[in-house]
């Protein structure tokens, strides 16, 4: 496991006894299951690099559901203008393509409180959209 991912995993695991989170640690990625009221949402946490800024970022990605048609694409772009943290992106490697919520924060000198709050925001928003798109609780 990369050192940075391991460090994040340790911070999360020490915080989980106070929070409703389940952390599954992979080699390059964490899968954090966030419990929201009577539903749950998985968020993939990994490290990414921004070459231009010479920065390491924490990348949070959570799956919402399949996109229905072109009007949904337009609606997603309009929604992006109003979202507080993060935005919607399209994964075209699947059939049908799916919508994800994605958010990056700078790793250097990050605050754990900020990371945790962002994680919850991403999970909450993705779960709300999943409810609208598919109704169930698959992700």
């Amino acid at each position: 496991m990369s050192v940075l991912i391991e460090s994040l995993a340790k911070q999360l695991q020490s915080a989980t006894h106070n929070l409703r989170l389940v952390v599954h640690a992979g080699t390059e990625e964490l899968l954090v299951e966030v419990h929201l009221a009577d539903r749950k949402q998985s968020v993939s946490v990994s490290m990414a690099g921004c070459k231009a800024a010479k920065a390491t970022t924490i990348r949070m990605l959570s799956r919402c559901g399949p996109i229905k048609d072109h009007r949904s694409v337009r609606a997603a772009l309009i929604t992006n203008a109003n979202m507080e943290l993060g935005g919607l992106c399209l994964d075209t490697t699947t059939n049908p393509p799916v919508l994800d919520v994605i958010y990056h924060m700078v790793y250097e000198n990050h605050q754990f409180e900020d990371f945790l709050m962002s994680l919850y925001s991403v999970a909450k928003y993705a779960d709300q959209l999943e409810q609208k798109l598919v109704g169930g609780d698959n992700f």
Binding site: I78, N80, E84, L85, C89, M105, E108, N109, D114
Partner: protein, 257 residues
């Protein structure tokens, strides 16, 4: 700004004691002791002590942009109280200005933490936007060495690489009144056949997301929002550098045309 107003108002609003203070206190005692008899087998109050705290209140009126605002300063802890309860409720630009005023007065008027003199001096010197209470943006601009000017709503950066597409930075607020740092760059006319491509590109960006403004009419825009209190100037410098480079690529290579 608001601190100057405080200095002018030296006399508190009220210096009187209510004439019926005794009856008010008696009514409060009666309310607090109501029900004591219910536990008379196990306990019995033998005395009641009443402590009255003296305090003060000032009304502070100031102009924020074109909008007059008023807050109250007082209480035992020198707290700031809005005339509107938890904060301004207006929507739109007036709402933003009102919220900005509330946010600024809380930043400079609350003695916990202490008043930041660096911020006050920078506002007076016109080197920081009044909403940037932690002076984060000028420090970040100094790191990335780009041309920047203060605007009514925040800042405008004209990147060397593509000055015709400026970047705007503003302090916005969420529904709970929490300040958000908002970075925005216009990417050009929104072509309908590129909507899918734009949404797909969001997966590759390091910061921000491509969106459609004005309910889908007009232009694509790269937008980044994050909580203002958590952003340091060093982090903001990296965010701006990454955002400028990646949006330059989208514009120059006409990836959305």
């Amino acid at each position: 700004m608001a601190l100057a107003m405080c200095e002018q108002s030296r006399t508190p609003l009220n210096t009187w004691m209510p004439p019926d203070l005794a009856s008010i206190v008696q009514a409060r005692i009666d309310r607090e002791t109501d029900g004591f008899d219910a536990h008379s087998q196990t306990e019995r109050p033998t005395a009641v002590r009443v402590t009255l705290f003296g305090s003060y209140i000032y009304s502070v009126e100031f102009d924020c942009g074109q909008e007059p605002e008023r807050v109250y300063v007082g209480g035992l802890n020198n707290s700031i109280f809005s005339a509107r309860g938890n904060g301004p409720k207006k929507k739109g630009l007036l709402g933003l200005i009102s919220k900005l005023g509330y946010h600024v007065v809380n930043a400079i008027g609350n003695i916990k933490p202490p008043v930041d003199k660096t911020y006050l001096q920078a506002v007076h010197a016109n080197s920081v936007h009044i909403g940037d209470t932690r002076c984060v943006v000028p420090a970040a601009i100094e790191i990335i060495r780009q041309e920047c000017r203060i605007t009514e709503r925040g800042y405008e950066i004209r990147p060397d690489t593509n000055p015709k597409f400026p970047i705007e930075l503003e302090i916005d607020f969420n529904a709970s009144g929490m300040p958000l740092l908002c970075i925005r760059r216009n990417l050009g006319v929104a072509e309908r056949q590129q909507f899918g491509r734009a949404l797909q590109l969001n997966r590759q960006l390091s910061f921000g997301r491509i969106c459609l403004l004005n309910e889908g009419e007009g232009a694509f825009c790269l937008l980044d929002r994050r909580q203002y209190k958590h952003v340091s100037s060093g982090q903001l410098a990296k965010i701006l550098t990454g955002l400028i480079a990646e949006s330059d690529k989208i514009i120059s290579f006409q990836m959305l045309q």
